[in-house]
Amino acid sequence: MSGEGSPPRSDADGRNDGLPGPAPSDRPHPESRRTTDGIRIDPVVEAEHDRRRAVVSALVEHEPGVLARVSGLVSRRQFNIESLTVGPTTVAGHARITMVVEETDPGVDQLKKQLRKLPVVISAGEISGETVSRELVLVKVRGDEPERVHAITEMYDGETIAADPQTITVELTGDESRVDAAIDAYRQFGIVEIARTGQTALARGDVPTTPGEAPAPGCETARREASDQASRGTASGEGQSEGNGPAEAGGDSPRTATTERRDRTEKQGQPPAE
């Protein structure tokens, strides 16, 4: 593609005034547009996505740096995260990370796909279907009115775990709204300090929490196997709103390399870090 197409415009000094051709305003340009998510805007239904709250669970190798890898991914790609919890699971050397995020549908989709790319992540996905979630909170309130504090603690099925003349510390668990409501109720006494764990969650019923997750050894059930198959086959709601098509379903099954990788770790005699 040398300059043989048409005579270039130049002044006497050979200064380049630019290239030939109609100016931008003289060119045709399509009327249609895409959203910031890169989705073509349907002239009938404009597809703007609202943020929603999603619980994303990831089964990971329990090794040093895994939390840094996951949290680094979340911060680098600017996902909006509400809470993150981590702890061991039924398999030695595995841990479960539970994240609550405020994201659009494409955002949630992107988060789970990016998680799956991390070598330490065995399986990750938004908890499909119903979710059971709980959070634990420790609330330290002023100790001036112990009876009234105790009444509220009873009302929320909490427990007083420490008390002295100055302060009362109670423990509560519940889903997020229940914990929020309890904290509101304590405010009248004066809250000195709060520590919250953030939500952790499992899928309700005999449904795997992360896609394709196997039940703990000895706990398999016929129903679980069936529902596991179903969740793999239809992606159980995942990716439907995004319309990603059949190819998405394949991406939801856990890495086949998992077993192999675990075996290798054991062979090498690397104890899983705690």
């Binding site: 043989e4 048409s6 050979g14 200064r15 931008p24 340009h29 547009r33 073509r40 190819a247 090498q268």
Partner: protein, 628 residues
């Protein structure tokens, strides 16, 4: 678009061979193993003999590199990496000492791209490792297969802020595909093998293993010495990967995409760097030709489709051709393969291919609908999926009218530049002169800036793995170290006649020109053309367009005379001011058997056009500075 080259050399065989995996039994006699013979006894391939001897973690690293098929590594010595170098001396791996670790990373990156297998670089802890970081980030952005091995302070000093300690794992975590801290001498070999295998698997990328000095000095246990053998198996399985296990896309999704292609009125193929990485240029080219679909590429995709083909629209995006940007704006069916829809390609997302149904072929599921929504996501190996698509498309789309339209756009928006007989030297003219003087298989490397864009625009790329540049990260100074890596890859493949041409800018060249000393020491036949406009010209162009011409810190009239400086390094130096000198000087520089530098004093006011302003609409590309 006009053809400057009429010959299109069939590259099927050699690229396919280089693209598949490494020879697992490297032959030391053919690799010119100077380093090894100088520093220690020649390698013995027979590890059986060593089973009775003490073997260290460093030996395990060297065996792992050999077993993975590594023939060449780039790096710099240093305290914490010394045990590994000591072991490399007795290995079949040839080591090329660079002048700066950043250049070692770039050279390994370029070597990997040209050779079609991961490049390897080494550095010591602390500053050695942090100097690699730019090169690792560069490879990460461009999905280039590369392995970095870094020394680290002994394990019991880690975390104490010891001398030359940096948290290399922490620093490189966001810019590597995989990184690992070696924990003991017994497993370090398999960790290195895993890093090598991962770099070149699926979507390519850089990996890193951090090697504490106690781990490399320690003796490996009996079971550790067996690591080399298991890894050979893994390397072999990588080698056979190319055909049997290339991942295919879901057949139903392929069929749906095929129907969309058949019914398209205005289809366009967009080939990215993934087509080159997957060695899929041949099937991609055949697919486009069979179906009569015009082809544009991304910048990393240059060479994936011959630009002298009538269907080629050259590359799209910020400084792509006007006709490519018109086509990509008006298409109703975009067949995008191995591209991540970078913002320099798409311009503003709202106006990108707004009428197109997007078929997106990619090996990385996370790229699907990341930036541009894919109506037909096809997850799999580029070559395998294009073959699936080729089989599924029953009749080519009726696109004769569209092809005519694209050809008209090529006439309306030609890529040209102004010349006059006694006017200043034009950079585009230099690029064209080199293109005319070299064969289709010549490798072009560049730094970053205006010169890079002129090289991309005015070179006619006909073959994959001939364009080696820094795209995503935009690393100034990439050109010369990349030329060193590319030259060594070509020489290793026996292609000593291939030309390696490096286009650099004055500002860009200044960042890594110390590597000329390496090119001289290794007698590398590379030709560097410095398109010297005494500015960091792209900044100058933007200042003129967007900052009312205030040329803050962009004037580089203080740069040295690159031709005499080249002579000081022991290279040949040339200087061009007059356009009439170009042809002869280019020929002399190419003929010189060793590194040559031409200091080309070009028109300092020349701009790169056309240009889509950041976030603008591709179809609204500016043809003059006034349009911006």
């Amino acid at each position: 678009m006009t053809d400057t080259k009429t010959t299109y050399r069939d590259h099927t065989d050699d690229t396919a061979d280089r693209g598949t995996a490494p020879d697992s039994s490297p032959d030391a006699t053919t690799t010119g193993d100077e380093t090894a013979t100088e520093l220690g006894p020649p390698a013995t391939d027979d590890t059986e003999n060593e089973l009775g001897d003490a073997t260290t973690g460093a030996d395990a690293v060297a065996r792992a590199l050999e077993a993975s098929g590594v023939e060449l590594a780039f790096g710099i010595q240093g305290g914490a990496i010394m045990p590994v170098y000591d072991a490399l001396a007795a290995s079949s791996v040839r080591h090329v000492t660079m002048a700066h670790e950043q250049a070692a990373a770039h050279a390994a990156d370029a070597y990997g791209l040209v050779a079609g297998k991961p490049g390897v670089c080494l550095a010591t802890s602390g500053p050695g490792a942090t100097n690699l970081v730019t090169g690792i980030a560069d490879a990460d952005m461009d999905s280039d297969a590369m392995v970095a091995l870094t020394g680290q302070v002994p394990t019991d000093l880690v975390g104490n802020d010891a001398f030359q300690e940096t948290d290399t794992i922490g620093v490189t975590r966001p810019i590597t595909k995989y990184n690992a801290f070696a924990t003991d001498a017994t497993t370090v070999g398999s960790t290195v093998e895993e890093a090598y295998a991962r770099a070149g698997a699926d979507r390519h990328g850089p990996t890193l293993v951090d090697l504490p000095k106690d781990v490399t000095l320690d003796e490996a246990t009996e079971s550790g010495r067996g690591a080399g053998r298991t890894s050979t198996t893994r390397a072999e399985s990588e080698a056979t990967r190319s055909d049997e296990s290339r991942s295919q896309a879901d057949p139903d999704a392929v069929d749906a995409a095929a129907r969309a292609i058949e019914s398209a009125d205005r289809p366009v193929c967009l080939f990215g760097g993934g087509v080159v990485a997957a060695d899929a240029s041949d099937v991609a080219t055949a697919f486009a030709r069979t179906n009569g679909i015009p082809v544009t590429t991304t910048m990393p995709g240059l060479g994936s489709f011959p630009e002298d083909d009538a269907l080629s629209l050259s590359f799209a995006g910020m400084h792509g051709t006007g006709y490519a940007n018109m086509a990509i704006t008006h298409t109703d069916c975009l067949i995008a393969v191995g591209t991540r829809f970078d913002d320099r390609l798409t311009g503003g997302i709202d106006t990108f291919a707004p009428e197109a149904e997007v078929i997106h072929v990619d090996i990385d599921p996370a790229e699907i609908s990341k930036n541009v929504h894919a109506d037909y996501p096809l997850i799999g190996d580029a070559g395998a999926v294009i073959e699936q698509l080729s089989a599924a498309v029953e009749s080519p789309p009726a696109a004769a009218e569209w092809r005519t339209q694209c050809a008209e756009w090529a006439e309306t928006y030609p890529l040209t530049y102004a010349t006059s007989d006694d006017g200043p030297l034009k950079p585009q003219f230099v690029v064209e002169a080199f293109d005319a003087a070299t064969a289709d298989d010549a490798i072009v490397t560049t730094g970053v800036g205006q010169h890079q864009m002129w090289a991309a625009q005015f070179w006619t790329f006909a073959e994959p793995r001939t364009w080696v540049s820094s795209h995503g990260l935009g690393t100034m100074g990439y050109g010369l170290p990349a030329a060193i890596g590319a030259r060594l890859a070509a020489d290793e493949a026996g292609e000593t006649d291939r030309d390696v041409v490096c286009f650099e800018g004055d500002g860009s060249f200044l960042m890594t020109m110390q590597e000329l000393s390496v090119a001289v020491r290794e007698k590398l036949d590379v030709t560097v053309a410095v398109l010297n406009n005494e500015h960091i010209g792209m900044v100058r162009q933007w200042q003129d367009a967007f900052f009312e011409g205030r040329r803050m810190a962009s004037e580089y009239d203080w740069v040295p005379a690159f031709d005499t400086l080249a002579e000081a390094f022991g290279a040949r130096g040339f200087r061009i001011v007059d356009p009439a000198e170009v042809a002869d000087t280019v020929e002399s520089a190419l003929d010189y058997d060793g590194p040559a530098v031409i200091d080309c004093h070009i028109d300092p006011e020349e701009n790169v056009l056309p240009m889509v302003p950041s976030g603008g609409a591709n179809g609204q590309f500016a043809l003059t500075e006034e349009h911006l």
